[in-house]
Amino acid sequence: VSPHRPIATGSYSHDLLVHDGDHDLVEGTRAFVDQGLASGGHVLVHSAPERVAMLRTVLGTHPRLEYGLDSDLYLTPMSTLFAYQRKLAESREPMELWATGTVPLGENPAGHAAWARYESAVNEVLSPYAFHGLCTYDLRALPPETIAAARATHPFVSTGAHRTASPEYQQPAAFLSNPAAGVPGPPDSPPTVSTTLHSHQDLRSARHLVAQSAVASSAVARHRIDAFVQAVNETLVNALQHGGATVQLKAWAETSRLTCLVADNGPGIADPMTGYAYPVPAGPRGLWVARQLCEDLFISNERRAGCSVLLTTA
């Protein structure tokens, strides 16, 4: 039996609570909320409306206890992740944040995979901060694959009162190779744009090609196209700077989805999680911006040489 490891105030924790009834959920949530309030921190309980209503009835109110809806707070995996990062990194005073609830996994396997990647990336993005998460997964409602993925994305499993290290936990970079992460590849169809860049002076025509094909061949809203093009631009700038003489750009514009693949033959990007951390003053921020302006961004190093970055938006 693994030893109980209490949550240390002022540090980071990200726990999984698996429950098959409301009793375990309420008791686990209560223990977490009580510890958060006792630490002097801010506590957030978030979920779908019925779940929030039920928890509010049993947990009551407190000046530092806030209730929120997933439909307001958890719109997309990356917007949620970077909103937490911003809140913690840009807080003027030291902030201890305790958040517990569900993630809105969505209705299809791609949605479950995208939120599984979110749960994993939380460990990369929020670990520098005094952030505590208790994520509740309902055995009655969720398929076994989703529960298994949650065990790989949370360093600890908890009942609220008792917590132990999760033996199935994987580091965020390693989790990306787990089939449960569902990392997408480029579409099978031929690209709508295929071009080579030799210098920064080629950026403009590359941007215009991607924008034109997206406007012509997809129904994605114009502001999302603009943001995607900006993300592609920053990825190209990064590749031109670090990736050797030429950079290959391919883009696919489908009705509800835009994809870009930026490939170079440079030394590669050592860490596939590059661009997640909050930038240091005067440090690079191109990929950090790019990650926030598209739906998802994947870095992979090629076996022989070079690096490819896949960007998607929908």
């Binding site: 950026l203 900006q230 700038v237 911006v289």
Partner: protein
């Protein structure tokens, strides 16, 4: 919303083309000549006596698909080779202008590289020629494009910026002086961020006597990347370091979003106003 493909920037007035590379210079010069041909203008170009063939205007135009020989033959384009300072005197300018207007041309356009002028006169004398040119562009149907390499150094380029009343042209971007600051139009990315830095450093060099904010009008800026946003910060650093403030005005939604993402709006001395 701007159509995809970018807006067309002006190639008229007393402009300085700041270029990072020969290909940028060639693209700018060729676009400037094409604009002159569209207007039916008389085009006068001055190049060094010993200009390398591949840098000559005729070659630049030919490579861009312009029938330079034909334009030369009909006299719309004249290329002079500078061996002394005769092509930089006011009397010569006036004569060329009078002759061209008499021949029925509506306007006259001049262009040359700064290096060409500096091979026949001192930078100080050249600065006085620039001042005379600026006056001429304001009072006569004249447009002048002066070509400067961005590698000249910040101090020189600051002086250059101050001498060109209609602002700076890069390949994708134009900065135009305003009474309370400057306007930035077009696109700023990694390839021309340095030009924006220089233009802002020059425009915000003089302390504002009434203590009002230095305004950067971004209304016609269609694209800004991280390098460009950095140029907004570094180009106004001196101004802000002595207590000045900067108002970034009318940014389009994508530009405003990036500035907020990067926290430029929260930096000391910056404000973001009138953004959608």
């Amino acid at each position: 919303m701007q159509p995809v493909g970018g807006r067309s920037l002006s190639w008229d007035g007393h402009l300085v083309l700041v270029h990072d590379s020969e290909s940028q210079r060639r693209a700018g010069v060729s676009a400037w000549v094409r604009r002159g041909l569209d207007l039916g203008a008389k085009i006068v170009y001055i190049e060094p006596r010993d200009v390398a063939t591949e840098r000559s205007l005729v070659r630049v135009l030919q490579d861009d698909g312009v029938d330079a020989d034909e334009v030369l033959e009909r006299g719309q384009l004249e290329v002079f080779r500078a061996g002394d300072d005769r092509f930089y005197r006011e009397t010569w300018f006036t004569k060329v202008l009078e002759d061209a207007l008499a021949e029925g041309y509506p306007t006259v356009r001049w262009s040359a590289e700064a290096d060409t002028a500096w091979s026949v006169m001192s930078p100080e004398v050249h600065a006085s020629v620039e001042a005379m040119t600026d006056l001429m562009c304001r009072s006569q149907p004249v447009s002048v494009l002066c070509q400067y390499s961005s590698h000249l150094g910040e101090a020189t380029l600051k002086t250059v910026c101050a001498l060109h009343g209609d602002g700076l042209r890069g390949a994708l971007v134009q900065t135009t002086p305003l009474p309370d600051g400057c306007a930035v139009a077009g696109e700023v990315d990694r390839s021309d961020a340095r030009m924006l830095h220089l233009a802002l450093a020059a425009a915000s060099a003089e302390p504002r006597e009434d203590g009002s904010a230095f305004v950067v009008d971004l209304g016609a800026l269609d694209f800004l990347d991280v390098a460009g946003a950095r140029a907004l910060v570094t180009g106004t650093e001196t101004h802000r370091a002595r207590g000045g403030t900067v108002c970034l005005r009318s940014a389009q939604p994508n530009v405003a979003h990036l500035l907020r993402l990067l926290g430029v709006d929260r930096l000391d001395g910056f404000s973001l106003e009138g953004s959608s």
